[in-house]
Subunit: 117 residues, 2 copies
DNA sequence: CTGACATATTCCCATATAGGAATATAATAT
DNA sequence: ATATTATATTCCTATATGGGAATATGTCAG
């Protein structure tokens, strides 16, 4: 079998850095293809292709306005990623808290009986 | 150019569903390759290969114990994903809150002057 | 209708998968 | 030393990618 296709889910669609840039831009509001091309300094065909992938996994919506096509973000589609990764946050947070506590203890332990330098 | 390599960052490493399963398992604690093979019902070589990718992007640590190799999760490496996706949560949360508010208003509006059925 | 603008599609290619199968390497036990 | 167990690596193949370049499609203006 080959690698999981980019269009198979949000995880794969978002793995490509350029597509994350597009998403980050669309977070600011609706944009035409050309807006994206200029803002991100990419070639038009590649932007269209990336948008195609994003559309296929439901990450963006499209709306026709004259001869332009306005793309907007559908943030809901990011939810599976958010929900998968969020539980892991407690691991490094806990570690951080333990570190803080440790530093605190060291601080108290050394204050007063150590000559400052 | 080809697709962004799986070993280029956590985003790409994690795009593969089997690798997420491995991560989810390691979240429970250190595991040997064979533990993973059995728990996830995968072939040993594929597990080793997936672990290689995860190792390369720093998502797991290894420790030798006799003839076994114990892999553990390094959740810190998930942080870039967490930090990228988290800001988007407010989008759907806001939408949800607006919906709640709307339902609340409708509730108040209809209560009392509508025959129950 | 024609030209100009906006977007999508097609063709090409180098590259990298993920899994299967087989085998290599490593460590331990006897 | 040899067998056994645990893990890694190699070779294979079908498949898909992302970018470049060129072109097709669509839509408006005059």
């Amino acid at each position: 079998m080959a690698r999981t296709p980019t269009t198979s889910d949000a995880f794969n669609a978002v793995a490509e850095p350029q597509r994350r840039r597009i998403i980050d831009l669309l977070a600011l509001g609706e944009r035409s293809v050309n807006d994206i091309v200029e803002a991100l300094d990419m070639r038009q065909p590649q932007v269209s292709k990336h948008l195609g992938v994003l559309r296929e996994v439901g990450l963006v919506n499209v709306r026709d306005e004259g001869r332009r096509r306005l793309y907007s973000l559908n943030s809901e589609a990011l939810r599976p990623i958010y929900e998968w990764v969020t539980p892991y946050e407690r691991f490094w947070r806990e570690r951080y808290e333990r570190l803080e506590e440790l530093l605190d203890r060291l601080q108290r332990q050394t204050s007063g009986d150590e000559p400052e330098q």
